[in-house]
Amino acid sequence: MVLILVGLLLGQTAVHEGTYVPSADRPDRQQKADYRAYTRGSGRSGAASAFSLQFAVAGGAGMKNACDCTAITGTRGEVLTMTRASTATCTKTQASSGGGLTLTGIANGDLVTCSSNQPRVEWASNGVRGLLTEYSATNSALWSQAINTAPWVDEIGTGGTAPTLSGADAATDPYGNLTAEWYTFAATAGTQNSARAQPSASIGVWSAGVYVKGQAGSGTMDICLQTGAGTASCAACNYVSGSWTRCAVSGVTSVAAGSVYIGNMTAFNGGTARAANSVYISQVDVQNYPYITSPIPTTTVSVTRAQENASFPVVNGVTSQGSAAATFSPMTANYGGSTAWGPTLVNGSTARFMYFGTTMAMYDGTNNPTLSFGTLTYNTPKRFASNWFGTTMNMYNITDSTSFTSAFTGTMTPGTALDIGSSTQMGAISGDGITTSVCLDSNPLRCR
């Protein structure tokens, strides 16, 4: 209702389908107050939108079903161009189970391989279908879906019992194929291990992940990455029998030829004893990244998922004034100060309506204000907005109710495309996560 009234006041007749309707939080009120002050001072009234784009909004107009891997558009049919030089994995887990970034409740066949240049539509946890974008990553674990195959070997620590292959290709995996191995890892205590291992990582920061399902019940095992001779960094892996759980250990500084370990790892996990675990194992990733990204299947060689870019054709009509907004579901709560994340809305190298590095930022070629994006929570949507008019640029962290105002040159110079999620037009800004509810409009009050 609030938005409809504002629209009528500005001479607009309809609310676009799926337009984000804000609660009465401070940035929205501030946004209106900022613009009303400007229109009163200049004698202008709000004009009808000369440009309006909405994408990945609630209701799903222009979007396809999750992981359809087919072309998607804005709500009015605007064509989104995807560029990625490799295939990539999409997760179609429903929002009710956590959506595409979930680590639990993953069903057989939830993982889908999209071909090169195909978009990956995934559910955000708030029930909106969005676009998953990721930076390039490489999985160095060979035979990622066959840990019963060389170069995988047993790891028993001192006095441990080797794991038992209870069945090769014994169960349907998260990709829907009959490839999951059934392993029984023996109970461990003291200096014992009972696991499968492979030297995969080199010196640097790595993360590892594995899909696990209990063969007959739930339990706890380990996933570890080697940090030195006889040492590893481990994460407890709590699995259930009814669905797949993706367990991960992240941000580990590995050693040269550092091994990944899957199983019971009491000797390396700080001494926590483990009961025997009878589990199905699928898709192991050892990625050169501070956090685990979407899975990358391998066989005899490491495999790289190429960086991807998503863009709409060049945008005009938002040069002198406009607004932008997007909601972002992060792939990690800690991007480690990386400059490569976030929902980017960039229309050329000097028309950055919203982009993210260590902070949220805007740029008109001269002014480069920033605003903290605050605390991030894994797989929890967070909304940001901005607008520009007259001599003012404003940034709004809608979720945290913070804002920042800066000078504006009066011109956002159009570029060659509107990049969403990542950008070919500027530095390595790349959204590792799901972007939804994107709005760009020549009306400074439209996108909130």
Partner: protein, 198 residues
């Protein structure tokens, strides 16, 4: 060279992280002489793992350079940093692919490229205007030769060695005897077949 001027001479191909630097790669839209007139000439030799498109494998072969789909190559670039961002302009004669087609030479990961100043690699930088402005270098990984009957064990940290498995790829530096192994690249793009594309 500011980005606005660069945009008039080249088009942006991709972005990447080079360490902590945000790198934009540019494909020239003009020849070496015009670039030189605008102050763009090679500054560095880059050594990167790349994927050649099938079309460009043929083009390279016609030029007398045999390349596989995946290679490690060295090539000249104009490289300029500006704070936390950088621009890399590729040599002007790398063939341009049609929209939607696979890029002629796709760098696997700019962050793993080695960059040295032209003063330390004059031969590479001299390739700037060449028809095929790159040279292949030693591939950094190995695997057992498919049909030579030779072992290709991997050395272990404890002094022993292990059979790493048929066709399984590992770093050349950890091969007991690299001469007995087949030299290959260390990774392929997702979707490619290592048995036929490496």
């Amino acid at each position: 060279m500011d980005r606005a001027k660069l945009s008039g001479l080249a088009f942006a191909l991709s972005t990447a992280l080079l360490g902590t630097i945000a790198l934009t790669t540019w494909q020239p839209a003009t020849d070496a002489a015009t670039l030189a007139d605008s102050g763009i000439s090679p500054t560095h030799a880059a050594t990167c793992d790349v994927r050649f498109s099938p079309v460009c494998i043929v083009i390279a072969a016609d030029a007398g350079i045999a390349v596989s789909r995946y290679e490690r190559i060295t090539f000249p670039v104009y490289f300029q940093t500006d704070g936390g961002s950088a621009d890399a302009v590729l040599p002007p004669n790398i063939p341009v692919s049609a929209p939607g087609e696979e890029r002629c030479v796709q760098v696997m990961r700019w962050g793993s490229c080695a960059m040295v100043p032209c003063g330390a690699a004059p031969a590479t930088c001299a390739l700037w205007g060449a028809a095929m402005p790159f040279a292949t270098v030693q591939r950094p990984c190995v695997r057992q030769r498919a049909d030579a009957g030779l072992p290709c064990p991997r050395a272990l940290a404890d002094g022993g060695s292990v059979d790493f498995g048929d066709l399984n790829v590992f770093p050349r530096s950890s091969a007991v005897d690299p001469a007995q192994c087949e030299s290959v690249e260390c990774a392929v793009f997702a979707g490619d077949n290592p048995n036929t594309d490496l």
